[in-house]
Symmetry: D2
Subunit: 449 residues, 4 copies
C-alpha cells in the first residue's frame, strides 16, 4: 500500500480490490468460460483444461499489460493476449479457444462482479461487527444520561444508549440495503461484442447458463453492459454507509472535544499524537471516517454521471468507473474498519456527561418545566413564564430552578417540591429506554429468523 | 412555475413537491398529531377537532411565514405559530394544544414523508408507463436490424428490439428499487426535542402508534431525525433513474443525428425548432433528460454530504436537504415524463438502420467472418486473415466480402457461398430474439404475480 | 420568494438573478442588437428604435413563454416570438428585423453575462463589507486570547484577532479572484447559428463591435458558445467563497456550543428559537452558511460536468447550466449576506475564552514548556519529560504546572519561577500580533492603491 | 504504475505527484527549515548541515512510515521521527533540532506547494504544446468546410479552422488562469502548532522569511493552514481544464463516428483495437479525456466540501485533500498528455466533411437562404417560405434548392442564379476566417510580449 494506504484503507479489503484481484477476477472469468464452453461442446475439453489452469496472475508481465492497455483502451485486450501466449506455449491448438465468443466487457464486468462478491462479503461482516459493538453500547448505557444537542446547542437530556441505538439502527438498515443490492449486482455479464452473443451462434445462452453455474452467479435475462445501474447502486449504498459512518464520527469528535470530554477513542502509544504538541490525543479514526464521508459523495456522483454510456458500449463513461468503484469500496471499507476498531474501545466518561448537563444551569431542563407548567397553566402562559425565566436566569447567571421557584406566577402552579424532579435528568428521558429495547429486539428478531 | 419550469419539470409532480404541498404535509402532520393525542387522552377531543380542521394551507400568510422562517431557522416554527393563532381565534383553549409534544423536525420530516408518498407514487406510475412503452418497442422491433455501436463506432449487427429490451430491463430494475426504498422511507418521524418523546411523559409511544395509524405510516423502532439515510436513499435511487434516462436519451440523440437518422423524437409544431434555423427538429426531450442526468449526480452528492449531522439535530446538514430533495424529485420526474412522452411517439426509420449497416462496406460483419473462419482455420489464422482483409478493404474503399472472396487463403476455408450469409445482418443476431423474449417474459411474470 | 427563500437567499440579489432579470437580460441584448445593427446600417434605424423600446419585461405573457420554451427547447425562441409580435403591432415592418442575425445562444449567454455583471457587483460589495467587519474583529481582538484548537482538541493559545485575520485574508483573496474572473467572463457572446456570424454577411464583426459598445462589454476574439469555461469559472470562484463562508460558520458554531460559549451570533426576538425549547438561541446564520457550503460543491461539479458540450451547441449540457448558475449565485449570495449580518453583530465572551484555556489544567501550554525545556535539556529529554508529566497530570487530574514543578529532572533545568510564565497565554502568542498587522496593512495597501 | 496507470496517467507527471515526490517535498521543507533556522541563529549551523543532508527519500522505511502514519493521523509525524533517528545516528545533538518549531501541517502543506510548483509547471508546458498543435490545425484548416452542428443536428456550414480556433482560445484561457493561480498558491506555509509561530519566540517571522528564500517561495502575510482556498483553487482550475479537454474529446469522438468519419485519432498497431472485433479503431485518447471529464468534477467538489475545516486544523477535511488533489493533477495531466499526442497526429478527412454537408440535401443551407430571402421579402414571409420548402424537401426526399427553385413565390424574389451560391458552403462562412486570424493574432501578441 501507499504511504497513506494504512491511514485510509484496510489491508484485508485491499487484497480484494487491488490490481492483482482485478486481474484474477478477469482470469477467473476466462477459466470459467473455457470450462463452460467445453461443457457445451463449443470448445474441446482438452483446450479448456489448459486454459483454465493457465488463468493465474502469477507470471503475467504486468508492466507490459499496463502499457498495452493504454494503447488498446482497456486491460482485457492485453490480458487475453498474454493468456493466449501462455496457453500457446503449452498447447498451441488450445490457444485458439481462449476468450472464445466473449468481449472485453464480459471479462471486465464479470471480473468486477467477482471482486464485488468477496469485497461486499467482507464489508458486510464488518458492518455486523460494528452494529454489534454499537448495540452493546446501547444496551450498557441505556441509563447513562447526557445532554441531547440540537443545532450544536444543549437541548434536553437523553441517554448514550438512545444515541447508540440510533447509530445501530442506521447500520442495520445499511446491511439490509446491501443484501438487496447484492441480489441485483452479483450476476453474470456475458453478451459478446454487442450483447447478442452472436459469436456463439445458437449456443450463446447455453454457454451463459453454464458460465453462471461455474462462477456461482445468477444469469440475468439480458446482458447489462451498457446499463450501469448495477455497479452504481453498489456505489450509492456504500455512499449511504459512508454518510452514517461520518455521522457517528462527527458525534464522537464533538463529544471528544476538550471542553466536552464525554467520549474518547481508545488511547494507544503513537495514536493521535502530534509532531509538536506532547499532550494531544487526536481522534484519528473519526478523522478518517469524516474524510471518507467528504470524499465518497463526489465519487458516487462520478459513478452516476458515468451512467450516460453510448449505445452498446460507451466512450469514456465505462472507463470512468474502473478506478472509481474500487476506490469507493476501499475508502468505505477502510473507514468502516478503523471506526469499528475505535468503537470497540470507546471510552465513556459518564461523570463528565452528567456534569455537562449542569453547564446551562438548568436551561437544558426548560422543556420539561414548560410541559409540566403547560398542563397546569395552559401552554401560552407556560411558554411565556418559562421563556422569561430562562432569560432572567441567563442574564443573572443563576440556576433556572431558583429563578422559577422565586416566580410567584410559577409558584401558583408548581411548588418547589414539584419543580425539583423536573431538573432530574433521569426523570426526563421519556421513552428512551423502551426505544433502545425496541431497536435491540428488532435486531434479535432479524438475526434469529 | 418559473420560465424554465415546463422545460425541466412536470406540472402534475410539481403540485406534489411545491411550497403548498410542503406546507400541507406539515399541516397534515399537525392535524393527525392532534387527533392521535386526543385518542390517547393526551389533549381534549374538542381541541383536536378545532386544530385538525384548521390545518389547511389556504389563508396562511406565506410571506410572513417565509420571513419568520429565516429568523427562526426553519419554517415549522412560524407555521406552528400561525396555526396556533388561527386555532386561538376559534377556540383559545385549543390553541394551547397545537403541536403538543412534537418538535420542528417531527413536523418537517413527516411532512416530507407524506410528500414522498404521493410524489414517488406518481413517479412509479410514470416509470411503469415508460417501461410499457419501451417493452412495446422491444417486442415490435425484435427483427429490426441496426448496427450495434461500441466506443461510438459500428461494431456488429444487433436489433432495435434488443436495445429497447435493455432499456426496459433497466427501468424495471428501478421500479423494484423504488418499491424497496418506499418500504424504508415511508415511515413516521416522531421523537420530540431530542428523540426521547420526553414531553409526552409515558404516553409518547402510544401517541406515536396512533399517529402512525392516522397517517397510514409505519412506526419505526426509533426516531431517525439525526440519521438521514432514509431520504438520501430516495435521492440515490432517483439518481440511478436519472442515469438510465440519460443513457436512453443519449442513445436517442445519437441515433437522431443528421448523418445517422435512425430514430427521432415526435415532430410537432414549435417542437425543437430554432430561433434562426428553419429546418431544425431538435431532440428536446432527450436534451432535457441529458441535462437532468448532468444535474442529479451533484444533487445526490449534496444529500450524501449532508448526512454528517451533528448529535440530535445537525447544523446546516439538515437544512441542506430542504430544497435539494424536492429538486431531485422535480428534475427526475420532469425528465421522466417528457422522455416518456417522446418515446411514446418514437419515430423509427428501419430502412435507414439497414442502410447504415452498409456504411462500413462489410466491416461491421468482421466478427461473424472471423468466428466462422476460426472454426475452420483456427483462431490465430482467422484473426490474421480477417485483420489483413479489413485493412485492405479500408484502404481500397472496397467491400470486405469482395476482398475476402479474392483471398486464396480464405477461400481455402470458406467458399463464396459460405461467405455470403455471414454478411446478412439477420443471420448474425445470435440470441437477440430470445433475450428480448426473456425480458418481456420476466416482466409478465412480475406483473402477473 | 419561496417559503425557504428568505432563509437561504438575499432579496437584493434575487432581483438580479430571478426570472424577470433573466428575461430583461435577454431583452437588453435584443435592444442593443437592434441599435448596433442600425448603427452599422444593417437594419433601418426606425425599426431599431421600435424594437429597442419594446424590450421590456412588463407585458410579456410569461406563462405562454414558459410553455413554448418547453416545446422549443429554450426560452429565447418564444421570447423572440413574443417580442416580434409586440413590435409588429406597432410597426409591422420593424418586426422583420427583431433578433436579426443572432441565435438563441447569443441572446441567452449575453443576457446571462449582463446578469452576472450586476450580481457579481453586488456580491463583491458584500464581500468587502464582510472583510471590513472581520478586519475590525481582527484589530479589536488582537490581544484577546483563546485556545487554538486542532483536530477539535485544544492545542495551544492563540488570539481571536489572529483567527479573524485568517478569515479576512481568505475573503480578500476571493475578492481578487472575482476581479480576475470578471475580466474574463464579462464579455459579449455573439456568433449566430454556428459561430460564424454568417447571417450578417461581411457585417458580422462590425455589428459585434457596436453591440459590445452598446452593452459595455468587451468583444472576445471569437464566440465562446460551445466553450463554457467562462461561466463555469464564475461557479468555481463562488464555490471557493462558499467554502470559506462555511469555514467561518463552522468556527462560529463550534465556539457557540453550550460548553464552549466563546462566540455567539446576535440575539434578536424570534431568532434561532425552537418550536419546543424555550431556551434555545440557535446560530441560524452559521447554519445557513454551512448548508450552502454543503450544497455549492455539487452544483459546481454540475457546471463542470456540463462543460462537455457537443460541437457548436451541446445537447443537454448547456441546458444543465440554466438553473444551476443562478442557483449558485443565489445560495452563495444569500449565505454571504446573512453571515455578514451576523458577524457585524458578533458577540464575544473574552472571559469565557480565557476560562476555557484552563480546561486542560495546563496541558494547552505543553508546547511552550517543551520548547523552553528543549533549549536547556535537549529536545529528546524535553519531549520525554513533558509527555510523562502530561500523562501524570491527566491521570491525577492535576495541573501540569504543579506536576512539572514536582519533577526533579525538570526542576534541574527550569525553576518554578521560570515555569510560571510558560503558563501565561499572553506570553505564548509568538508572532500573532504582527501577523494581524501584516494582514491589515496588506489590505490598506491594496485599498489605497 | 498500476495496471490502469498508463491508460489514465502520464509517467512524467506521476513522478512529481507520487509517494516519493510527496515525501521528498516534505523533506525539502525540513532541510530548508534547518538551514533557515541556522541562518537566523535559532539552531546550530552544524546541526542544520547534518539535517539538510539527511533529507533524502532513499533509505526511509516507507512501510513503517505508512503504518505509523495511520496511527498518528498524518505522515509528517513518523517522517520526522525517522528523520530524527537518521540524524541521531550521525550526530545525536543535531537530532534535537529536526523540525524545530514547525508543525505537521507546515511540512505537509509546504511539501505540497513544492510538488505543485513542479507539477503545474509540467502541465503548463503540455497545455502550451496542445495549444500550439490546435493553433496549427486552426490555421491550416481555415478553409476546410464542414457542417456546424447544434443539438447534435447539422445546423449551418462552418470551418474546421474556426472549430479548432475555439479549442485553442479556451486552452489559452486556462493557461492564463493557471498563471494567476500559481501566483496565489506557490507560497510558504509556516505557522507552527496553531499559526502563531509561538515555538520560535520572537524569531518566527525571521525564520519564515529565510525559509521562503531557501525554498524560493513567497511568504504570505499570515499562515493559511485552516484556509484551503489556495489548493482548492488549483483543483478548480484543473477542473476547468478537464472540461475543455472533455469537450474537445467529445467533438473528436462525434466526428470519428462510423457514419461521420470526418476526424480520426492517429492509427497505430494495437491502438484502439478490440478483443473480438478485428476492424475496430477506437478513439482511445478521446475516451481517456472523456473519462477524466466525468471524474474530475466529483473530485473538485470533494476539495470544495473539504474546505469547511474546524478552527486551527480541521478534523477529516484536511485529510480528505491528501489523496484527492494529487489524483486531480494526475488525471488531468494524463488526459492532457494523451489527448495532445492524439491531436498532434489528428487525421482530417476534408472530402468526407464536404460530403456530409450534402447529407441534408440542402437543409443545412436553410439559414443562408432565409437571410437572403428576408432581405427581399421581409423576414416573416421568408421564414414561412423557407420552412414550407424545408418540409416539402424533407417529405419528398428532394434537394432544398430544387424545391425552392420551383416555388413561384420564392422565384419572385430570388432567381435560380441567385439561389445557387447560397448552397455553396464556402460562401456561407461569414467572419470565420477573420475570427481564426484574431485568435491566432491574440496568441502571438501574448507570446511576443
Amino acid at each position: 500500500m501507499s504511504v497513506l494506504g494504512p491511514t485510509f484503507r484496510w489491508a484485508a479489503l485491499e487484497r480484494l480490490v487491488d490490481d492483482a484481484a482485478r486481474l484474477q477476477g478477469m482470469l477467473d472469468f476466462e477459466a470459467a468460460l473455457a470450462r463452460a464452453e467445453a461443457r457445451c461442446g463449443v470448445i474441446p475439453a482438452a483446450a479448456a483444461s489448459v486454459i483454465a489452469r493457465s488463468c493465474v496472475v502469477a507470471g503475467l508481465d504486468v508492466d507490459a499489460l499496463a502499457r498495452d492497455a493504454a494503447r488498446a483502451g482497456n486491460p482485457a485486450i492485453p490480458l487475453v493476449k498474454q493468456l493466449t501466449a501462455r496457453v500457446a506455449k503449452e498447447d498451441p491448438a488450445a490457444a485458439g479457444f481462449v476468450h472464445w465468443g466473449a468481449t472485453s466487457q464480459d471479462v471486465m464486468d464479470t471480473g468486477l462482479v467477482l471482486q464485488l462478491r468477496s469485497a461486499l462479503g467482507l464489508i458486510e461482516g464488518e458492518l455486523a461487527r460494528l452494529a454489534d459493538a454499537l448495540a452493546e453500547v446501547a444496551d450498557r448505557h441505556r441509563s447513562t444520561v447526557l445532554a441531547g444537542r440540537t443545532w450544536m446547542q444543549q437541548a434536553a437530556p437523553t441517554t448514550l444508549g438512545l444515541k447508540a441505538a440510533g447509530w445501530v439502527d442506521a447500520v442495520d438498515r445499511h446491511r439490509r440495503r446491501l443484501a438487496e443490492t447484492k441480489g441485483r449486482v452479483l450476476v453474470l455479464q456475458f453478451g459478446g461484442a454487442v450483447g447478442t452473443l452472436a459469436a456463439l451462434g445458437d449456443q450463446g445462452l447455453a454457454v451463459a447458463d453454464a458460465l453462471g453455474e461455474e462462477l456461482g452467479l445468477a444469469v440475468p435475462p439480458i446482458p447489462w453492459h451498457a446499463h450501469r445501474d448495477r455497479p452504481v447502486e453498489v456505489a450509492a449504498v456504500l455512499g449511504l454507509v459512508a454518510g452514517t459512518l461520518g455521522k457517528i464520527a462527527r458525534d464522537l469528535a464533538l463529544h471528544a472535544q476538550t471542553e466536552v470530554g464525554e467520549l474518547a477513542e481508545p488511547a494507544a502509544p503513537g495514536r493521535g499524537g502530534s509532531s509538536t504538541l506532547p499532550h494531544k490525543q487526536n481522534p484519528v479514526a473519526s478523522a478518517g471516517a469524516l474524510a471518507a464521508a467528504v470524499r465518497i459523495p463526489g465519487l458516487v456522483s462520478t459513478m452516476m454521471t458515468a451512467m450516460v454510456q453510448e449505445d452498446e458500449r460507451g466512450l469514456g463513461g465505462w472507463a470512468a468507473e474502473w478506478e472509481t468503484l474500487p476506490e469507493i469500496l476501499s475508502l468505505v471499507g477502510g473507514s468502516l474498519h478503523h471506526l469499528t476498531e475505535a468503537l470497540l474501545g470507546l471510552r465513556v466518561d459518564a461523570a463528565r456527561m452528567e456534569g455537562n448537563l449542569e453547564a446551562t444551569r438548568g436551561l437544558v431542563f426548560a422543556e420539561a418545566v414548560q410541559m409540566a407548567l403547560s398542563r397546569r397553566a395552559g401552554r401560552a402562559s407556560a411558554q411565556r413564564l418559562v421563556e422569561q425565566a430562562c432569560a432572567r436566569a441567563r442574564e443573572a447567571g443563576r440556576h433556572l430552578r431558583e429563578v422559577l421557584a422565586e416566580d410567584a406566577e410559577v409558584a401558583a402552579h408548581l411548588s418547589g417540591e414539584e419543580l425539583r424532579p423536573l431538573f432530574d435528568a433521569r426523570r426526563c428521558l421519556g421513552a428512551s429506554d423502551t426505544l433502545v429495547s425496541r431497536v435491540l429486539a428488532a435486531r434479535s428478531a432479524r438475526e434469529g429468523s
